[in-house]
Symmetry: C2
Subunit: 232 residues, 2 copies
């Protein structure tokens, strides 16, 4: 069996060269890796090699090196003592810290975004939430991960608080692969969230209620995962 089968050239799929408006290759690689970590198939424990990624992305090892170094700095990847790189495993301690960080940072981001919401932004948010529900019911895991991420960060980005946003992005990168593992194992059909409540709070321009909705959304998600993992 050929376990080494590489899907060559997933970057530069359509446009062979120059189409990407002069975005450096290491930046494109970074975005692709982040996509795989947040939504795609990079699961905890997976080994990462520079040459392996380079050949599967159809680029030279050099830009991969820079993208990987960056992801290590954001703790999305882990550098072991042997200098080998992998997707970090989740621990209960890390799980706890991530839960805390999210529940103090994200309600604040949402509250800071509230004044910037207009009818256009609210409509966009409802569309995204519809996609969340659709993916959830269809059992489309990657679609759900992507839509849920879009729901939260569409709100947070409106805050303009880029320093806080960067902290939260790092946290999501550390949490993504584990979340995907759990949902992949137990399915997305029993999921519930507080998105509707958050949208209503935004429409009512009620900051306190919005903070509570985001906080509860996070708590609920983490509690769901805790329950699922406990029952193994």
């Amino acid at each position: 069996m050929d376990t080494k089968a590489k899907k060559v050239v997933s970057l530069f799929g359509a446009e062979p060269a120059g189409g990407s408006d002069d975005i450096p290759i290491h930046e494109q690689v970074f975005r692709e890796l982040r996509r795989q970590i947040l939504f795609g198939g990079f699961l905890p424990g997976r080994a990462i090699t520079l040459r392996g990624l380079a050949s599967s992305l159809g680029v030279s090892p050099m830009p991969v090196r820079e993208a990987v170094r960056r992801l290590i700095a954001e703790r999305a990847l882990e550098l072991h003592g042997n200098r080998r790189v992998s997707i970090p495993a989740m621990t209960s301690e890390k799980f706890n810290q991530i839960a805390f960080a999210r529940s103090v940072l994200e309600p604040e981001l949402a509250a800071r975004a509230l004044p910037s919401f207009g009818s256009r932004e609210l409509r966009r948010l409802r569309e995204i939430d519809a996609k969340v529900d659709r993916s959830m019911n269809a059992g489309d895991l990657e679609g759900y991960m992507r839509a849920n991420h879009a729901f939260h960060f569409t709100i947070y980005r409106l805050s303009g608080a880029d320093t806080l946003l960067a902290l939260v992005e790092s946290v999501w990168l550390q949490f993504g692969p584990f979340m995907r593992t759990v949902y992949g194992r137990y399915g997305t059909s029993n999921l519930d969230d507080q998105h509707r409540r958050a949208i209503a709070a935004i429409a009512a321009n009620n900051e306190k209620e919005l903070r509570d909705a985001i906080d509860e959304d996070i708590r609920q998600g983490f509690q769901f995962i805790r329950d699922e993992v406990m029952s193994d």
Copy 2:
């Protein structure tokens, strides 16, 4: 006037080779740059070039590239549209976000560290605080920055909460150069902190009081800077 004067070889000062127990060069460069950002002379707006750093550190551009990429990811350095790198400038918005992040994350880290404190750790902390006071009174800015950093992170490290710790480290890297600028302009003689109060809270094993002490220490520091900068 020779403005290009470079202080060659600040890394590898004593031991020409092999003394550093196989720590990669890019890691040594990273630590040196972090030191300069947190305590040393890297002030906001300062331009950073790979070849410039390489020659002033006495290494090749390659490991500098990796260290710089890492610091960009932690937002300690800023990558401009021209692809040029510099120490980021402070803005009032960023200042606010950093103040918020510190005041929610650091009291939590202190609280989590509390159970791990023994008499040895407490003694060490008192020694560090003594050095803080000594540097403050002597007007030794770099010594003060270093000792104050040591005071906080000696506490936080004891929590074992490395995920939260990484977030806070990133925040300090973003705040260091500006803090140093302000203190450099207005002096350290009028400074005050809540370190004594924090130490007392630790000795009394009083979590709530420790959280308040850390929170107040941070608030006081930020308010001091706000006042100084307003008076220009």
